[in-house]
């Protein structure tokens, strides 16, 4: 028997597989297809203080090895999530869920985290700081160590639940941003969010996305995500959740060898709704073939073995 369990700051997961925020809604569509309790956990759609429609459509574009999205954080708002989505989730998911929180000001992050702190279903808060700070000329919080630190400090004051800061890869020095979060009391780091990109429609001579630019995800970003997990996990003592382009058990293991304690899977769910159960099923055989009987033994082995 291979032991797939991992531990995220005290939150026990039966396995390291977590559908990523934005690619899994609040889980309902997938619960029609398979038993969600086989997952380690899942990170629900990025939730903000107020309901948001998001960006105009088209919001989706395609590219070699991936996709671009400019959904613009469409969500029903934190109060509706607490009153409606969480009770619904309870009907088909019986483990602690990961609450993904978005925001456009430090106060918004603080308020949302304070509210979500009261929900016993939530095992961990993932704070998505790849959003523009409306009080700082639209620069995203994750763009500078100071911005990331300010949000971390604010949310740390309002909750004892594990806080994982989700970082944008669109920065010069990801390590500096991660260290700033750690210094302000973050329990872990989630990375990466999408890379900024765009496509142009030849016939219309205009960007495909109504928002013009959007976030790139999918297999194309896997090497970038892997490199950042590798750098950050060596620089901080807190756990790292590896995200970006993962669509197979092999890539899960690569991510963990690079230093991830758990792995989130985003876009792959959209093209293959069974990707997570398939990976969970494939992991034991793959690990046995590698002579590994505890998946957590693999975390960071690629740099520990240097």
């Amino acid at each position: 028997m291979v032991d797939l369990s991992v531990n995220l700051s005290g939150l026990h997961l039966d396995n390291p597989i977590i559908p990523a925020s934005g690619a899994f809604g609040y889980g309902a569509e997938f619960a029609e297809l398979y038993d969600l309790d086989i997952l380690g956990s899942f990170s629900f759609k990025g939730t903000t203080k107020e309901p948001r429609f998001g960006n105009p459509t088209p919001r989706i574009a395609e590219c070699d090895g991936g996709m671009l999205n400019a959904v613009g954080l469409q969500n029903p708002g934190i109060d509706a999530v607490l009153a409606e989505e969480l009770p619904r989730i309870r009907q088909y998911f019986h483990k602690p869920v990961i609450a993904n929180i978005g925001g456009f000001s430090v106060d918004e992050f603080r308020e949302c985290c304070e509210k979500i702190d009261a929900a016993d279903q939530v095992g961990l808060i993932e704070v998505n700081i790849s959003c523009p700070n409306l009080h700082a000329g639209g620069l995203n919080f994750s763009a500078t160590p100071e911005g990331a630190a300010a949000v971390t400090r604010a949310v740390r004051q309002v909750t004892k639940k594990p806080i994982y800061m989700k970082l944008s890869p669109n920065v010069t020095d990801i390590v500096a941003v991660a260290r700033a979060c750690e210094a302000e009391g973050a329990d872990g780091i989630s990375l990466i969010n999408t890379l900024l990109g765009m496509r142009i429609d030849l016939r219309r001579r205009r960007p495909v996305l109504a928002n013009e630019t959007g976030g790139l995800s999918g297999p194309a970003i896997f090497p970038v995500a892997l490199r950042m997990v590798w750098q950050v996990s060596q620089a901080v003592k807190i756990p790292v959740i590896g995200i970006g382009g993962v669509d197979s058990a092999e890539k899960v293991i690569e991510m963990m060898m690079a230093g991830a304690t758990a792995v989130e899977i985003g876009a792959a769910n959209l093209v293959d709704p069974y990707v997570c159960p398939n990976i969970i099923r494939a992991l034991p055989g793959l690990l046995a073939g590698l002579g590994v009987d505890r998946i957590s033994d693999l975390i960071g082995t690629a740099w520990k073995n240097k």
């Binding site: 934005g22 690619a23 899994f24 809604g25 309902a28 569509e29 997938f30 029609e32 297809l33 759609k45 429609f53 998001g54 459509t57 088209p58 919001r59 989706i60 574009a61 395609e62 590219c63 070699d64 090895g65 991936g66 996709m67 999205n69 959904v71 469409q74 495909v208 999918g218 297999p219 876009a267 769910n269 959209l270 093209v271 293959d272 709704p273 069974y274």
Partner: protein, 247 residues
């Protein structure tokens, strides 16, 4: 409720220069209404391609699609012994047949025509014969007329350049024929949907298109505003009732 499955390609042949008809064999149990769609995994493309179900029976699905880009080009080249596709089926709400009135009219434009065929067939099984108004660019793009006629539907075709049938749009047919109808169903490019919406006094249903990430409601890629709140074209649509549409 959506289901994933592998479907073997029984037939994949051109109807016109750019439009193909594909017949797939496999489980069709998830399809509950005409106007629903499938989402097709195409080798070499990252995202699936949404295509309406033109018709289905106990073990086959018929799709009619136009080659417009890389994905549909790849689809058009598929076939041969053992060729198969990974499909998500039973997607979307589809047309509601219960409120069809006594004399429904179907208005289709280009590759918006196919889902209306599946609809016509099911209305016909309920003893209702709809009128079919089909619009295309020009004569060499016309398809489907014979199939609607075979169901006994009064059928008229309009082409924009007048090279076949009436010259003009489907909405011109509606006016010129001075026909009587008490409900409409439509599918086609958005400007056509708008024209139909404006031209018809009666109630009806319109099928919309949007670029999709997943096709089954998970990514919020396809959202639109309606009078009853935000809806996902892929899950709460693609068919919207006239009364809820916000342009």
């Amino acid at each position: 409720m959506q289901k994933q499955g592998i479907y073997t390609i029984q037939e994949n042949a051109p109807l016109t220069r750019e439009v193909y008809r594909m017949v797939l064999a496999g489980n069709t149990g998830a399809i509950t209404a005409p106007g629903q769609f499938v989402n097709i995994r195409v080798e070499g493309c990252y995202l699936r391609r949404p295509i309406s179900v033109a018709d289905w029976d106990d073990n086959t699905i018929t799709l009619i699609y136009k080659v417009v880009g890389e994905g549909t080009r790849r689809l058009s080249r598929m076939g041969g012994p053992g060729a198969a596709l990974d499909l998500l089926v039973g997607l979307g709400n589809g047309y509601d047949l219960d409120c069809c009135g006594k004399a429904p009219v179907l208005l289709g434009g280009g590759v918006g025509v196919p889902p209306l065929y599946g609809l016509a067939k099911r209305l016909w099984r309920r003893g209702i014969t709809p009128t079919a108004l089909l619009g295309f660019g020009s004569a060499d793009e016309v398809f489907g007329e014979r199939e609607f006629c075979a169901l006994g539907c009064p059928t008229m075709v309009a082409t924009v350049d007048g090279s076949y049938g009436h010259k003009g749009f489907v909405t011109d047919l509606l006016r010129e024929a001075g026909m009587r109808y008490d409900y409409f169903y439509t599918c086609g490019p958005e400007p056509m949907l708008r024209a139909v919406y404006d031209a018809c006094d009666c109630s009806g249903q319109l099928s919309f298109e949007e670029r999709m990430g997943c096709g089954f409601g998970a990514c919020m890629g396809c959202s639109c505003k309606t009078k009853y709140g935000t809806k996902r074209i892929c899950k709460d649509g693609p068919v919207l009732k006239k009364e809820e549409v916000v342009w």
